[in-house]
Amino acid sequence: MTDPAINVSHVSKQFGETQVLRDISMQVEAGKVSCLIGPSGSGKSTLLRCMAFLEQATSGSIHIEGEPLGFTDGPQRRRQSPAELRRVRSRIGMVFQQFNLWPHMTALGNVAIALRKVRGMSRSDAEDRAMAQLDKVGLKERAHHYPAQLSGGQQQRVAIARALALDPTIMLFDEPTSALDPELTGEVLNVMRQLASEGMTMVVVTHEIGFAASVGNRIAFLDGGRLLFHDTPQAVFAAPREPRLEQFLDTYLDRGASMLK
């Protein structure tokens, strides 16, 4: 039996007094797209950040392709060394809501620098590779622009190219379109759709219910730090027996997203 790409096991997380995640267990199979939806403050971004060890779970464990993330397995549970953590993380690409492009580098520099400094590629090899990635997200012509000279949608596509250049097997997206207007949202979602069709394992925190319904193989619904539902879009949208989910989806339907029915 092969390991799931991501295995979240009994993860809880507390910020001081607040319980942000409550005993969450879920698996993401390789090549599948899971979308995390839920109201603000439901813990979906925190859960995603735990999957990259940008947040530490208070209890529980997370495995990436069978390997522990953040803490070692076994009776002598200890924090992984920075080198161990980097090795497990190297399978993960992360895309943030605020893009987080480095402002002092061009688009090309943003994509190429880790190839040079982390992967040890020569400058010209790294730039060739970076250029190919930028081309893939349709931004070859913008390669020599600085982030401040790019639209939000373009910046996010550069951020996706930057993550993809490092050959991750898993891509995590933290509300990738929430900082974009609807027109720019489309261009980013198209890139993500393309990526999903190529078989990338993806976990996407999103408010784009339409995207979740059409691209997601699984939808996870969180509310109040609990995972209430992790099932196929059909199961989630066709028969939302869970009252809290029904209520949540209704707010979208009210806004005219009736294609979900």
């Binding site: 940008l54 980097r86 993380r89 943030f96 987080n100 492009l101 982390v118």
Partner: protein, 214 residues
Amino acid sequence: MTWKLFSLLLEASLMTILVSAVSILMGLVMAIVLSGLRMSGSRVADAGAGVFISFFRGVPLLVQLLLIFNLLPVIGITLPSLATAIIGLSLCTAAYQAENLRGGFEGVAPGLIESAEMAGFTRMQSFIYIRTPIALRMTFPALVNEAILILKASSLVSVVGLIELTKMAQNLSASTYRPLPIFAAAGVIYLAINLVVAAIGQRAENALPGLPGK
């Protein structure tokens, strides 16, 4: 004010420029290292850098220069006055520049560091390639300001025996008994140098990519 006297002042001002420029650059490198120590996560390194900064910010530059000038021979080191002047000035400006940079480092958005972490950078690589360049850009105007302050503060290094612009003006006024035109000329030269520094700073600032608001 003869041309002869003025050209002597101009010549001495080259020493002022040399001492200041080298001190600013050495101070900048030291300030980056100090910032790295402060953020290294080691309490000892942080405390050491803190003490260094407090001392060199808290003790007058003139006293620092005289201390170094008199201390070094005691421990068996004899240096030319140019080296002594540069050491004194650069240690002092390092402390101020480290404090300037601190604001810049604190202003680097946490998300930019997280994305470096996710790209596989070590802490050190993130510091060198991401945090420092961004912090430098954000504090660049303060660096230009510091350069101007150091150019003026360099008038103190005559106490270690270096003949720079101010010392030359003193010598000339003593030998000619005409202090007024000579110090006026020295003032004009300082002003001219600093106007050039400010103009270069402004141009560099406009040319630097990735500054906020651009």
